[in-house]
């Protein structure tokens, strides 16, 4: 493996958890729900994946466990905001705080243990393509799922009837409700999908990226994912571009430092954020398109009229 391949591989590893968490949140927000609890769901996924992998001895089961843990945790958010109609912003923040605390408590027994790593799956024939074969077709299952999720969500939102309904709910839940669309049920499903994606993103951290459990190991990645969704103006392909750009600049700046280019490291550390925001803002400059893509009832509670 040459150095370029090694660098690209590092970038892909760094981008995968951001991409997964962001694509899940994108679906949630497209349905009109703002879940700020991504960080909390991610960390719950991370601790569950690590714990289950340790107990069962299978990293694969760990990944599934992380996904389920994120989904269950998101159900708590769903119950509070959709059934009890609590404020979404406050509930989301509470979910993050709860997740960080609860994961620390659950994970206490697993501190200082080396973890299991989810093995890469080589796809026959395709993996032999020069250069890109090793990069794209010899990866861990969570990477494949992140790419499938982007393609799937893009198709679902813009090509399927169910996706059209979901977007309609996000734009005007009252109108959708008047037309007979099941607003609360659809939103529950969207929130659960978001939770599953965030949980899997967390699992990626604790069984692929850095196979270990340490408290607070998400270190703010849930918030970056949230920001990516907004700056990508709720388009799946732009979320993909944003996550990889963020990954590329964060890894690139580390390499620049190791080479000794002499740019202040504080500036280099800020660069991934600046670059990603700048690029996504520029590609979203068309205001009319941005307005069309913004879910109009984002963050508003829905109480069905009887």
């Amino acid at each position: 493996m040459d150095m370029t391949q090694a660098i690209i591989l590092t970038i892909m590893t760094a981008a995968t958890p951001l991409l997964l968490a962001a694509i899940g949140e994108l679906v949630v927000e497209r349905s009109g729900v703002l879940n700020l609890g991504v960080e909390g769901m991610m960390i719950m996924g991370a601790v569950a994946a690590f714990a289950i992998a340790q107990i069962t001895g299978s990293a694969g089961l760990g990944a599934i466990g992380g996904l389920i843990a994120g989904m269950l945790f998101s159900l708590l958010f769903g119950f509070l905001t959709l059934t009890l109609v609590a404020n979404q912003v406050a509930t989301g923040l509470a979910l993050t705080i709860l997740g960080l605390g609860l994961s620390g408590m659950i994970g206490e027994a697993f501190i200082g243990l080396p973890g299991l790593k989810l093995a890469a799956i080589e796809i026959p024939v395709l993996a032999d393509i020069p250069f890109i074969g090793r990069l794209l077709f010899n990866q861990d299952p969570i990477f494949y799922m992140s790419i499938i999720a982007v393609i799937g969500v893009n198709w679902f939102l813009f090509k399927s009837r169910a996706g059209l309904r979901l977007r309609a709910i996000g734009d005007s839940h009252s109108s959708a409700h008047a037309l007979g669309v099941k607003v609360v049920r659809t939103r529950y499903l969207a929130v659960m999908f978001g939770g599953a994606c965030a949980g899997l993103a967390g699992a990626h951290l604790s069984i692929v990226y850095t196979p270990q459990w340490v408290e607070n190991m998400t270190a703010g990645r849930g918030w970056i994912a949230l920001a990516l969704v907004v700056f990508a103006s709720w388009r799946p392909t732009r979320v993909l571009a944003g996550a990889y750009l963020f990954g590329a600049v964060s890894i690139g700046q580390l390499h620049a430092q190791a080479l000794g280019v002499g740019i202040p490291s504080q500036f280099l550390s800020a660069l991934p954020y600046l670059a990603t925001i700048a690029v996504l803002v520029i590609i979203s400059l068309n205001r009319r398109m941005t307005l069309i893509n913004t879910p109009a009832s984002l963050g508003k509670s829905f109480v069905p009229e009887r």
């Binding site: 660098i7 990226y209 190991m217 000794g260």
Partner: protein, 359 residues
Amino acid sequence: MKKTLLALAAATALAGLSAPATAEAMDKVKACFVYVGPVGDFGWSYQHDQGRLYAEEKLGDKLETAYLESVPEGSDAERAIERFARSGCNIIFTTSFGYMDPTNKIAKDFPDVKFEHATGYKREHANVATYDSKFFQGRYVLGQIAAKTSESGTAGYIASFPIPEVVQGINSFMLGAQSVNPDFKLKVVWVNTWFDPGKEADAAKALLDQGADILTQHTDSTAPMQVAAERGAKAFGQASDMIAFGPETQLTSIIDDWAPYYLERISAVLEGTWEQSATWAGMAEGHVVMAPYTNMPDDVKAMAEETAAKIKSGEFHPFTGPIMKQDGSEWLAEGQVAEDGELAGLNFYVKGIDDQLPQ
């Protein structure tokens, strides 16, 4: 020593109010700790918490403790420290460099509470003490081991923030390495965080990709050790013994042992003998401990043990001249040893480090 302290503490507690000389002695003390990371980081904050638990175990009923973890440096820290001061803590340990100003600010309003700030240098009020460990002593040994075992002649250094403590470490590591191989190369990457396993792992990968075959870190997670293990490189642990994360990777680790200091200072509050002080202890006092030397040939191990013994006995100081600054000007003349005060404010590299120190 510890036993006498305990006996003394017990005696004074029994004597109570009847003994005028120990009028300030207390029956029970509440010690509070502010940590920058989670106690489960298995690095910096973990080691401080081990010290807290040790003191608790030794003092039993006479000590009550409380801690706050993952407290951000800056104004959040001020609130955390103030909350502790108001809640009846007798002594508060603030365990990160960035708590320096908040600690001094709160100390002014609570003259009866003792404040202990780790790794800082400001003691603006009589009730503020500072303490630190001479980690650079261990770093010199690491540098020597790195230069002896590296095949590429290049080590990678994952650095957190450009504060004196970190700069001392980089310089000392390089001086140790140069004592073995004058042409040794050191690549430094600043991650601008104390704790972010993902970012630390990324930095580790970048350094290995660029030809380093030994990693050392001044950040708090075990992620770089794991990356080195995966890539078949070698690495040094940080703050705690990280051998579990790289059984065939870890060469040694600098262990921060705060336990003796915490017991001593808390006991002093119990006895009423606490005084402001600036402690900067190292290997000799048992604050800096080297983990077992592993995964290296016997001659390297022997050299490391010899150097560590010399530093411990005071026979050798890592910052002994002649030492040039990075720009080639002279810092320390032949045989001259750096003053503690100068090291505490160290803000330049020694010659041979190929990096620009962020200012």
